[in-house]
């Protein structure tokens, strides 16, 4: 059997996962609903009508991070339970294509959720207007989502074939995601500042990009070892 | 911040060093428990082997 081209494999895996999601709606509605509910929780918990600056940035990104945990758990479950891993390992495709496919899936999920959650946040809780901040926000969203997707795809694969997968996934991911949270929250905090006083420090995009790159490399080097049996 | 005088700082320094020692000693104590358990298992095994050897000798005679 000839070895299929990696790009074709990734696309096929991606389409399979997205088709499954469109049919069963396991993850996306839950993530969106969770995000909006979380904003409500913050409103009641913090007893504030509007947020700006550091606090706004923190609330938004912690909520998105926790929503991402829902996806990280679900993204491999179908493979593990229906023998998808075995079928994939037996096929001649390169194993890292599965990792790339899962990273892309998580990225897509996160972007869809952000399309719902960020406007909801702007309407419900954010004090300054979001439009002027958008270009820089987009950069933060892209680099932040990439970090979450890379770490989520690696840890998800690690956790899904253990006996405590629902606990281990979040517990192992969260410390690894703290630098991503730090980078992205500190990046957008001056953007949410009512007085527009803060300028975006250059270090945070650099830190995020480096972190994403390093853990991307680590994930691709180690992924094969997780799929050996 | 002005440095704490000796009589207030002393207990903290002592507490820190004592905590360090206690942690190491607790570790040693746990390892000691495992060691004594292994020692007991080993002596039981030795008894087993001796009994079997004696039984084997009796049968062979």
């Amino acid at each position: 059997m000839t070895r299929p081209r990696s790009a074709a494999v990734v696309v096929a895996l991606l389409r399979a996962q997205l088709r499954l999601e469109l049919r069963t709606f396991e993850s996306l509605p839950a993530m969106c609903l969770f995000s909006v509910t979380a904003f409500l929780l913050f409103h009641f918990g913090l007893d504030v009508d509007s947020l700006s600056g550091n606090l706004a940035s923190g609330v938004l990104w912690v909520t998105l991070l926790l929503a991402a945990l829902l996806a990280i758990n679900r993204v491999y479950v179908a493979d593990a339970e229906q023998g998808g891993f075995d079928a994939f390992v037996l096929s001649p495709a390169e194993r890292s294509t599965l990792l790339l496919a899962k990273i892309l899936v998580l990225l897509i999920y996160l972007v869809v959720v952000e399309l719902v959650a960020v406007p909801a946040f702007a309407i419900l809780l954010l004090e300054p207007s979001l439009w002027q901040a958008m270009p820089s926000m987009l950069g933060a969203i892209v680099l932040g989502d990439l970090g979450i997707a890379v770490i989520g795809a690696l840890v998800g694969a690690l956790a899904v074939r253990t006996q405590a997968r629902d606990l281990l996934g979040p517990l192992v991911s969260l410390p690894l995601l703290v630098p991503v949270l730090l980078g992205v929250a500190r990046w957008t905090a001056p953007l949410f500042d009512a007085s527009r006083a803060g300028a975006v420090a250059l270090r945070w995009p650099l830190v995020l990009a480096l972190y994403d790159a390093i853990f991307g490399l680590i994930a691709f080097s180690l992924f094969d070892f997780l799929l050996e049996d | 911040m002005a440095p704490l005088p000796l009589h207030t700082a002393g207990p903290y320094v002592a507490a820190a060093y004592i905590a360090f020692f206690l942690i190491v000693l607790i570790y040693v104590a746990i390892m000691a428990t495992k060691l004594t358990r292994n020692e007991r298992t080993l002596s039981e095994l030795t008894e087993q082997v001796k009994r079997r050897q004696r039984a084997g000798d009796d049968n062979g005679r």
Binding site: R161, T162, A164, F225 | F20
Partner: protein, 248 residues
Amino acid sequence: MYGKGLRPLSLITAAAVALTLAAALFWAPNDAYLGFLQKIFYVHVPLAILTLCGFVAAGLMAVAHLRTRDPRWDMRSYVAIHISLIFGVAVLITGSIWARGAWGHWWVWNDPTLVSFLLVMLLYATYQPLRFAIEDPERQARYASVFAITAGAFVPINFAIVRLAPAYVHPRTLSNISGNLPGRMQVVFYLALFAVTLLWITLWRFEMTAKHVAAQLRQLQNLVGEASDEAPARRSAAPSLTHAGSVS
């Protein structure tokens, strides 16, 4: 044989630790700024350095395990993480005591070392539950190695990143003043670092020996045909050394 040379090593370690204690308490001068409280630093900072190096070393041992598939490397990695976790607990406790003495609170967020430490410890606290959740020993070792490498890479990166956060730009803290120490204090610090390094190595060899003995004992039990009534095949988070015939 892991136990060879353990006794002289322990004796040298004990001597180094005793010498460090004496030097720290009686020979080193009091810090002009922080006073007597600064002496906590001789035990807190070396423990912190050893914990972090230990985690990174465990990651390197895990790399060796994945390359050679020798279960002994997995055991070495497991023990390294275990000892480093214990040292890490000591770091958090001594750091907390220092925070209470210096700032009046049992925890402060303005010391980047302590904060990074808490994060690293929370990550490595998941190592044993992860191992325990996988029954097949070969897969357990493999997955644990993947974790140890990822976490080992995370340790230095996390330290650098936490220091970048705005709150830590000008901290007047324990970790900040370790850079420029005057004469005697520097000598005592390096002595302390040497003693704690020896302590880490001694405890590591000690636990490796204990685990090796336990594995040989289990092998003996199986040979004699005993194992049935006592503790039948309990799930274990620790590597076993008895599979793949690696117990010499």
